[in-house]
């Protein structure tokens, strides 16, 4: 079981209030992603749940029991760190065995679990190596192995893929999702990468300056962002924001339209502009369009075959039913 409840939790470092009173419930078996720009408090929040930082006030409950003042070791949570945090002087086998050794698991049971984890994570051939002799991806697998063998009630991941190269990151992302499907254990995952959040989460928690901006499934956040911040943060490339008379016509202070919800044409359309940089991804092309009179740059996603060059005139038409409207405070109308 791994149901985690935060009740009016706050955290201050000296005079700096990092987490204002915050409530959050994470259900058993959920894959929850904390996402937000750097410095938004997402890692601090994870460390509060882990017990590596003490809360300033409020309560943390794990499976209904008050864990606010429990040391990390007693919370039955396992954590995977960004830097892997492997023990450099121990072999992979001993690294994975360490939490079981601390918990006093019998030797043969330890052996069984190590072999199981090593098999699941493709580490069998590396069990007698030191972490220094492994690649980044292998090290991250060892860190995950060390977390799995404890059979924790929840896994905490603190930006685990940030130190890996792009291709490996995509692989590990899939492996962690696969792991969640197999184990069905609660996972809390911190990242600043909205793609990771969108692809992995059952539930995304968007944070800014310690505040929860919105909680919801990836598609809820994509379709109905509660405010401009979430709208701009979720989705790639970023949503276009338009202010002024065009927004006023729609009865809003600001309107937002995603790059994939604008049609570009060489001949006619509602708005016009000049093509700046065109980023060709093969399947799609992202056009950065200037001189629209709406916003400094508008980003539009077009088909990979769409053939306009730098400096060409282009016409744009938004899908009106996909417009997002925001008031002067940036809240969704």
């Amino acid at each position: 079981m791994g149901r985690i409840t935060l009740d009016k939790v706050t955290k201050s470092f000296g005079d700096v209030n990092v987490i204002p009173p915050l409530d959050l419930t994470i259900n058993d078996g959920e894959f929850v992603v904390f996402v937000g720009p750097s410095g938004c408090g997402k890692s601090t929040l994870l460390r509060l749940i882990a017990g590596l930082e003490d809360v300033s006030s409020g309560q943390i409950r794990i499976d209904g029991d008050d864990a606010t003042n429990l040391p990390p070791a007693k919370r039955k949570l396992a954590m995977v760190f960004q830097s892997y945090a492997l023990y450099p002087h121990m072999s992979v086998r001993k690294n994975i065995a360490f939490p079981m050794k601390m918990a006093g698991v019998p030797e043969d049971e330890q052996k069984r679990r190590i072999e199981g984890a090593a098999k699941a994570l493709n580490l069998t051939d590396y069990l007698d190596r030191r972490p220094g002799q492994l690649s980044g991806g292998q090290r991250q697998r060892v860190a995950i192995g060390r977390a799995i063998v404890r059979e924790p009630s929840a896994f905490l991941f603190d930006e685990p893929l940030s130190n890996l190269d792009a291709a490996l990151r995509v692989n590990m992302r899939l492996e962690i999702s696969e792991l969640h499907n197999q184990l069905k254990t609660t996972m809390i995952y911190v990242t600043h990468d909205q793609v990771e959040a969108m692809t992995m989460a059952d539930k995304i928690v968007v944070l800014r300056a310690g505040h929860i901006e919105q909680v919801g499934s990836p598609l809820e956040l994509y379709r109905e962002p509660r405010n401009k911040f979430v709208a701009g943060f979720i989705g790639s490339p970023k949503m276009n924001f338009i202010e002024g008379p065009v927004a006023a016509q729609q009865g809003a202070h600001t309107i937002g339209i995603r790059p994939e919800h604008i049609t570009a044409s060489a001949t006619d359309g509602m708005w016009s502009g000049v093509v700046g940089v065109a980023e060709h991804l093969g399947s799609d092309t992202f056009l950065h369009i200037h001189e629209t009179g709406l916003a400094e740059t508008m980003t539009v996603r077009v088909n990979g075959e769409f053939n306009l060059r730098h400096g060409d005139k282009v016409f744009l038409t938004p899908e009106m039913d996909k417009l997002h409207k925001f008031d002067a405070k940036g809240l969704r109308i």
Binding site: A50, A73, M79, F81, S83, L86, Y87, P99, M102, R150
Partner: protein, 276 residues
């Protein structure tokens, strides 16, 4: 951009390095050579480099006249004891400063180091009088305490720097893995810090071994270490360079051998913090 290293450049660099190395080592070499000369040859003009009658006479005279073993034993106790005591006090201090720093940690470190800036002779009187009052003048325990106090700032600084390089996340991982503070220290921190602790011990043994100001001023006969042994061969009886050299060679031999065999540790100790 990588610099091209030509063969010529390599030769010049190697020659220069050897020249500097030999210049530094020369006084020690000269002392060792002189210890095998007769007194007359020792002061010969022009000086004799290798072409002299090698003799062990100075060593036998020195051994006869003074109790080398006693001085050696005192040196070992004083250098070893002060380092050991210093480490025992410094490890927890450095630990707390490295892993649970407060706002004032940096100030405390600077303040500790600032005690090293005071000329030792400035506190000679108070310490001398204190030693008389406590009845520990010319005792090994007194010197162990004084040398420990003198080297403590350096020990704490060195260990602090080493501990700082151990990533905090590894300790946090151990905490998450269920380790208590004691288990964290035994299984994770200490094994990771061993190279650092070893270099610190080594450097401080050498510093304490060579320390002459306090060891000469606070001892007479009973607790006198090898520094006093060398000093006893200087001036009063006139200048006996060969015997003085023999005594010096005997005094530095143990630490020279220790240093030779632990060069790697020493270098990493002296460049601590410089390389990751």
């Amino acid at each position: 951009m990588a610099r091209a290293v030509t063969t010529q450049r390599k030769i010049i660099n190697t020659a220069a390095a050897w020249a500097v190395g030999l210049a530094i080592f020369f006084p020690i070499l000269w002392t060792i050579l002189t210890s095998f000369k007769t007194e007359a040859q020792a002061i010969a003009d022009p000086p004799l480099f290798l072409g002299f009658d090698w003799t062990l006479e100075n060593y036998s005279v020195v051994m006869e006249r003074s109790d080398y073993a006693k001085y050696l034993w005192n040196s070992i106790i004083i250098a070893g004891g002060s380092t050991l005591l210093g480490i025992i006090i410094a490890v927890p201090a450095a630990w707390s400063m490295a892993f649970v720093p407060s706002k004032r940690t940096k100030d405390i470190l600077m303040w500790m180091l600032s005690t090293k800036m005071l000329p030792a002779v400035g506190v000679l009187y108070p310490i001398y009088l204190l030693f008389i009052k406590l009845g520990i003048l010319d005792s090994k325990i007194g010197l162990v305490i004084v040398l420990m106090l003198i080297n403590l700032p350096i020990i704490v600084w060195m260990l602090y720097t080493y501990f700082k390089e151990i990533p905090g996340e590894i300790l946090e991982a151990a905490r998450m893995d269920g380790a208590t503070l004691k288990e964290e220290v035994i299984y994770i921190l200490t094994p990771m810090a061993i190279p650092g602790i070893a270099s610190t011990i080594l450097l401080n043994v050498i510093l304490a071994w060579n320390e002459a100001f306090w060891t000469l001023n606070l001892t007479a006969a009973k607790a006198a270490p090898l520094t006093a042994f060398i000093a006893s061969y200087s001036s009063p009886e006139g200048l006996f360079y060969a015997k003085l050299s023999a005594a010096s060679t005997m005094a530095i031999a143990p630490i020279l051998i220790l240093g030779w065999f632990s060069q790697k540790q020493l270098v990493s100790g002296l460049t601590f913090g410089a390389v990751k």
